[in-house]
């Protein structure tokens, strides 16, 4: 039987609230991250995957964004109910984050060493020497070849790949149980992408961590993730083991995404794009959010919102799952 999830997001909704506006961008999202696994959250831009990730550590811009429903359980504690001081104790120490675009995500005015040792000292009462030692080890663990030199360098002196490794080192210094990586390789070139992903996968195994990987890249999912959840218009539409979902997608959207991925070994020369566009969160239809773009659409799809249900060995939010 599967163990208890380390991080259990239940029916999470995150929405925009303000003068005369109020709608949810993330709707009723449930995700479970188990010990020592990589969970990929996949979807196109604006599907709410990054906002879901940010809200775990309460890093979403508030106001105007608020958690409007659900809970985020980490080791039995609901993170959405934590005081700012208690949340700060979780950030970096229990759950760490790696962001996309590492060049702008590092403070340009301070050295890598200052950044890393500040993060160490934010959670551990250690001397400057020990903090430096921990930081150098984290840099080496993140796959940086010359940690001592990088320690004294400023972000502008680093390449994109090295910056992202510094971000990973920053996530590692306090030995968290979970790393949430939000599009960690999007800003990097392909060879560096592969190295960074390999490193994340190895770290998961070496340290027994769990990784939540936010991405729009199905190739990345296939190569590093154990399980995956596909998000569309703020909802999870399909989730399950990566092998199961990619081999036999049941939701027409997942199916469409796979058809839109170029393959070298495939005989079909043309990609099949998904027609239409993603509905805006403030103009969602009453029924299925994907109905307008779906080729299998029926009257029931337009009137009745489908629940997330078990189908074969995955969970699917569809009235007419693809067989």
């Amino acid at each position: 039987m599967t163990p208890d999830p380390l991080l259990d997001i239940r029916n999470l909704s995150v929405g925009l609230r303000g003068d005369g506006i109020g709608y949810d961008i993330v709707r009723d999202v449930s995700l479970s991250l188990y010990p020592n696994e990589v969970l990929a959250v996949v979807g196109e831009s604006g599907c709410g995957k990054s906002l879901t990730a940010l809200s775990i550590l309460a890093l979403h811009a508030s106001p105007p964004l608020y958690i409007t429903g659900g809970s985020i359980l980490f080791e039995g504690t609901d993170l959405t109910k934590l005081s700012p001081a208690k949340m700060r104790a979780v950030r970096g120490a229990e759950i760490a984050m790696v962001f996309q675009d590492p060049m702008s995500a590092l403070d340009p005015m301070f050295t890598v060493g200052t950044l890393l040792t500040s993060a160490v000292k934010a959670h551990q009462k250690v001397s400057a020497d020990v903090a430096k030692k921990i930081s150098l080890e984290a840099l080496a663990d993140a796959g940086i070849e010359d940690p001592r030199r990088r320690f004294d360098e400023y972000p502008f002196q680093l390449s994109g790949g090295v910056s992202q490794r510094v971000m990973i080192a920053l996530a590692l210094v306090n030995d968290p149980k979970i790393i949430i990586a939000d599009e960690p390789t999007t800003a990097l070139d392909v060879t560096v992408q592969a190295q960074i992903l390999d490193r994340l996968r190895e770290l998961k195994n070496e340290r027994g961590m769990s990784v939540m990987l936010i991405t729009h890249n199905l190739g990345v999912v296939a190569s590093v993730a154990d399980r995956m959840a596909v998000m569309y218009a703020g909802e999870v539409v399909e989730s399950g083991a990566v092998g199961e979902v990619l081999a036999a997608p049941h939701h027409p959207y997942t199916n469409g995404l796979l058809s839109a991925v170029p393959r070298l070994n495939s005989e079909a020369s043309e990609l099949v794009p998904i027609g239409g566009r993603v509905p805006q969160p403030n103009e969602l239809p009453a029924g299925c959010a994907f109905a307008d773009r779906c080729s299998f659409v029926t009257d029931r799809c337009r009137s009745e919102h489908p629940p997330l249900e078990h189908h074969a060995r995955t969970e699917v939010r569809c009235h007419h799952p693809v067989a």
Binding site: M97, A105, P108
Partner: protein
């Protein structure tokens, strides 16, 4: 090194150009240098004799060459009005102006930066509105008017502070406040907008995600980033203080360079005008130089 050499050469060129401009302007502005020195009953011959004595009958370019030669041999010349040596006059005036100007500069940054930080931290609160309104007023109100209002309130009505002159610290307060008012206002606004802009940078989110405290993020990381534009424009603040010192020292009877210069211009005391004008040019240039050196030191990209 190359940039230091370039800046030094440019500074020299600027000083030469300004000395020519000052030299010509004061001589072409009309007025009679003998009026201040000789009694009203002096004859035309007496006046002409005085002009010859001090060399004012010579062609202007020749006067300039003589003047530069004397300056380089360490002779700044004497005042035409009372024959006092300018070197002996300068020390006291420079000291007084340095006290007032230095105090104003301290106020510009020492008050401006913290107020701007508070406004940014409490943005859109009544405190922010108050600070921002005050800084708009500080920029809009002319300093001579502010001086008169403050004198009226604090010297005439309340009697807390002296209206003019020099003595203890209480004599310094009003002139320093008036001299720094606009600089404080501008620094508040710059600090506020820089802090707000930097607070929304990606790196702030990274630091939060690493578990750093809001206080540390704000006072260490966001502040350090926000100081760059303030440092880069610090030269302008120095220039402003130097320029306004003429008006403010005169209003408050503060015996400094500014007051001396205004009096000398009114009396057509050429050597005094020349020396003190160039001194101000030099101070402004030095201020800009210091600002650019400070910017280089504060910015890791330029320092490395």
């Amino acid at each position: 090194m190359k940039s230091v050499l370039k800046t030094t050469l440019l500074t020299l060129l600027l000083l030469i150009a300004s000395s020519l401009a000052v030299f010509a302007a004061i001589r072409l502005s009309g007025g009679d240098v003998t009026a201040a020195r000789l009694p009203a009953s002096a004859t035309a011959e007496d006046r002409e004799l005085f002009r010859q004595q001090v060399g004012l009958d010579q062609p202007i370019l020749r006067q300039y060459v003589t003047y530069v030669g004397e300056v380089f041999t360490g002779d700044l010349g004497n005042s035409l009005t009372n024959n006092a040596s300018i070197s002996s006059l300068a020390v006291e005036k420079i000291k007084n102006s340095a006290i007032l100007g230095g105090m104003s500069l301290v106020l510009v940054f020492g008050v401006g930066i913290p107020l701007g930080m508070i406004a940014a931290l409490k943005r859109n609160s009544w405190l922010d509105t108050g600070i921002t309104s005050f800084s708009v007023a500080g920029m809009a109100v002319p300093n001579f008017w502010l001086a008169l209002i403050l004198i009226y309130i604090f010297a005439t009505v309340l009697g807390w502070l002296p209206s003019a002159g020099q003595g203890g610290i209480e004599y310094l307060i009003l002139p320093a406040v008036v001299l720094s008012a606009e600089g404080i206002a501008l620094t508040v606004r710059m600090t506020r907008s820089a802090m707000i802009e930097n607070l929304s940078q990606d790196f702030v989110r990274t630091l939060r995600a690493a578990g750093l405290s809001e206080r540390r993020i704000y006072f260490k990381h966001v502040l350090r980033n926000s100081l760059l534009p303030i440092i880069s424009l610090a030269g302008l603040r120095v220039g402003q203080i130097v320029g306004y010192a003429l008006v403010v020292e005169t209003i408050f009877g503060w015996p400094g360079v500014g007051q001396q210069l205004v009096n000398a211009v009114l009396r057509r005391d050429y050597p005094v005008v020349q020396f003190f004008s160039l001194l101000l040019v030099f101070v402004v240039t030095l201020g800009n130089l210091a600002a650019s050196v400070g910017y280089t030191l504060a910015n890791p990209r330029l320092r490395k």
